[in-house]
């Protein structure tokens, strides 16, 4: 993976010093609350319902074992011994002290990490496929381009004060695990007929209160033009995006108001001046960055070759785990392993310091020292040899990281919601837990097959409820917590095009959610054809049968 050079090290050290200066001026009363807010957000510090929250950037979800150990140490030293994996592949700490944050940033810098631009109206951490550089269905490894964009977007002088936050996602695989359709800019990397890497650029996707799928405005952009083209998009947005109403300030509103064609024309008009200019990428620059992401050298296993089939027969839970949590790698002797955090009773995405230390160790033992964070809030070990799988499973099981539910109902995405987040309309974690408790039978959940269930505590949609096959959204009804359910959403990862969920109807009290979910699942089971997934079934039969049963039975 990418290693900092002196330039990066010096930059991050200066960023820490700058932020320390800002914090000191704030604590000394020289910066107002409102001024400091803008500055601390650009360094990932929120003030939440109960305490500050620090969001640490995990660029494109990639971590080394050393970095993960540092996160474990930070959680012990400055927090309460745990961290939270966010849907944007970052790590959040819920209990730091404002005055400690500069020291935390200093510790992060010592392992080539930071919290730059993890919040605020600026270009956020670029996200990508958690299996990048490993997945068997990969066309182009997106990480070198993500790192190029990370550097370009870091303290960009022109684009740090945008109308609103700005999120870029990249996929380079046949299955889009980065949900590019619902990002401000989505980028699809692939090779053209001449075997050159090119990009399709989508703009104006997003979730929140106005969910929209992005529109393609450029097909086959050559690598060298990546940054100049992005600059033109950013400039058009920075100049014309609305600043009078934060709910209308995202680029999706601008693209819709102008029309995608007119937006594209504006971008191209701006691009004329800078295309081929100083921000053009040279072949050497790109080649160096690609080389920085060479596969890890030493991915072997000490274990003798093992008979997986025999072990599967002997250990049914191991067999389940292999089936759901272990995927194909580009190299036949390796696999990609998802370590699920979705254990009943634990808030989805929460990981303890002990788990972090352990995952770091397993990464060193079995995955070339590399770890990923997935947008589904799990850890991924991207390069695990086949003959280390059983050993890894046994270790993971002991630390509650071997739940065999990747891709299944109980592997839900869930935002922190009303337990932590001051914007929430309703709690989300207790809903997730209630669902896990109600649907705790492996055979039933396995029989339901691939199913994305996503929960957000409010319209901001951090839990991606719009793109859940089943989406649950916390709403406020006269001061009471209610939940709206939508069906048929999809982020684009498994052969289906991305789609936004349709709302079933009036919302439900928290106590009703599990019963309604049971009706929805039973409806699916009754209607499905052999081998049909929830999403395929929904796409075939539509929302009507679900509606009918949910509201008849609920009366």
């Amino acid at each position: 993976m990418y290693q900092y050079d002196n330039f990066d090290r010096e930059f991050v050290a200066e960023r820490v010093a700058h932020y320390r200066d800002q914090t000191q001026r704030y604590l000394a009363g020289q910066l107002s609350e409102a001024e400091f807010l803008q500055l601390r957000l650009r360094n990932g510090l929120y003030i939440q319902r109960l305490a500050p929250m620090l969001r640490v950037a995990v660029p494109y979800g990639t971590l080394s074992a050393t970095q993960l150990r540092m996160l474990a140490q930070i959680s012990r030293r400055y927090d309460r011994g745990y961290g939270h994996l966010s849907t944007r592949q970052n790590m959040q700490f819920n209990w730091p002290e404002i005055a400690d944050v500069p020291d935390i940033l200093h510790d992060l810098a010592s392992v080539e990490m930071h919290a730059i631009q993890t919040s605020g109206s600026c270009i956020r951490n670029v996200t990508t496929d958690e299996f990048s550089g490993a997945a068997a269905d990969e066309l182009v490894d997106p990480r070198p381009y993500c790192e190029i964009m990370r550097q370009w977007s870091t303290n960009h002088p022109e684009f740090d004060w945008l109308p609103r936050k700005f999120k870029i996602a990249v996929t380079g695989a046949a299955n889009d695990r980065a949900a590019i359709a619902v990002h401000d800019i989505g980028i699809r990397a692939y090779k053209n007929a001449d075997d050159a890497v090119v990009f399709d650029i989508f703009v104006g996707g997003g979730l929140g209160r106005t969910p929209v799928l992005g529109t393609a405005i450029y097909s086959g952009l050559p690598v060298k033009h990546l940054l100049t083209y992005l600059e033109s998009i950013m400039r058009v947005y920075n100049r014309y995006g609305r600043r009078d109403n934060k709910y209308k300030a995202r680029i999706k509103i601008l693209v819709r108001a102008m029309g995608a064609e007119a937006f594209k024309a504006r971008v191209e008009q701006d691009w004329v001046d800078i295309k081929g200019g100083p921000s053009t990428l040279s072949d050497a620059q790109v080649a160096d960055m690609v080389a920085a992401f060479a596969p890890p050298a030493r991915v072997t296993s000490a274990a003798a070759s093992i008979d997986l089939d025999a072990l599967r027969l002997e250990h049914p839970t191991f067999s389940h785990w292999l089936h759901h949590n272990v995927g194909p790698h580009q190299q036949a002797n390796l696999t990609v392993v998802t370590l699920s955090t979705k254990m009943t009773g634990v808030p989805p995405g929460d990981v303890s310091d002990e788990q972090m230390d352990a995952v770091a160790q397993w990464a060193e033992d079995h995955s070339g020292g590399e770890i990923r964070i997935s947008h589904e809030q799990n850890f991924v070990l991207p390069h695990v040899p086949r003959n280390a799988l059983f050993e890894l499973w046994e270790k993971a099981r002991r630390l509650d990281l071997a739940t065999a539910n990747a891709g299944l109902l109980t592997n839900m995405i869930c935002c922190p919601g009303g337990d932590y987040c001051s914007l929430a309309n309703a709690k989300s974690i207790p809903v997730a837990e209630a669902i896990q408790r109600r649907f705790d039978d492996y055979d039933y959940v396995h029989d339901l097959g691939d199913l994305d269930l996503n929960i957000s505590g409010c319209m901001n949609a951090c839990g991606h409820h719009h793109v859940g096959n089943i989406g649950i959204l916390g709403v406020d009804k006269k001061g009471q917590e209610f939940y709206q359910i939508s069906l048929g959403g999809h982020s684009g990862h498994s052969g289906h095009a991305a789609s936004l969920g349709q709302i079933v109807g009036p919302s439900f009290a928290r106590a009703e959610v599990c019963d309604v979910l049971a009706i929805i699942l039973n409806t699916f089971v009754d209607f499905r054809l052999e081998g049909e997934s929830f999403l395929s079934c929904f796409n075939r039969i539509g929302i009507a049968p679900f509606k009918e049963r949910v509201y008849v039975d609920a009366d």
Partner: protein, 133 residues
């Protein structure tokens, strides 16, 4: 009295002055006069004939003036003095400098020493810029 931070051959200098240019808006401006632009102004090649140009920031969080400055420098190749005025703040000056501003007019409540200290908190940058060295 306004406080200016201005680029000179010796580097950046603080000065205090009552003698502000007689800024004109694009509607009543004539060739050779100082021109004041709002952040939502559209670029016009005629601006090259201004004696000096200022961009008025309605809030320090409003990045439109940064893009406008870059367009003046990059698109019409304006090389004269470019003033940042209005609600500017110590912590955004380093961005302004890199977007091509060379005179920064601080509002009264801002601290000139802090501003001077924070003009270049970073030795190196990840991007090309239109900074007027």
């Amino acid at each position: 009295m306004s406080t200016l931070i201005k680029r000179s051959a010796q580097g950046w200098e603080i000065s205090h002055t009552d003698d502000r240019p007689n800024w004109k808006t694009p509607q009543d401006w004539q060739q050779g006069e100082p021109l004041l632009l709002q952040v939502d102004a559209e670029i016009d090649a005629r601006f090259l004939q201004a004696s000096t140009i200022a961009i008025d920031f309605p809030a320090f969080t409003d990045g439109r003036g940064l893009s406008l400055a870059v367009l003046l420098r990059q698109r019409i190749k304006y090389t004269g003095e470019l003033h940042a005025i209005g609600a500017i703040h110590e912590d955004v000056l380093h961005y302004m400098v890199r977007c091509g501003f060379d005179v920064l007019e601080l509002p009264q409540e801002r601290c000139a020493e802090t501003a001077l200290r924070l003009l270049a908190p970073y030795t190196h940058h990840y991007q090309e810029s239109v900074e007027q060295a």
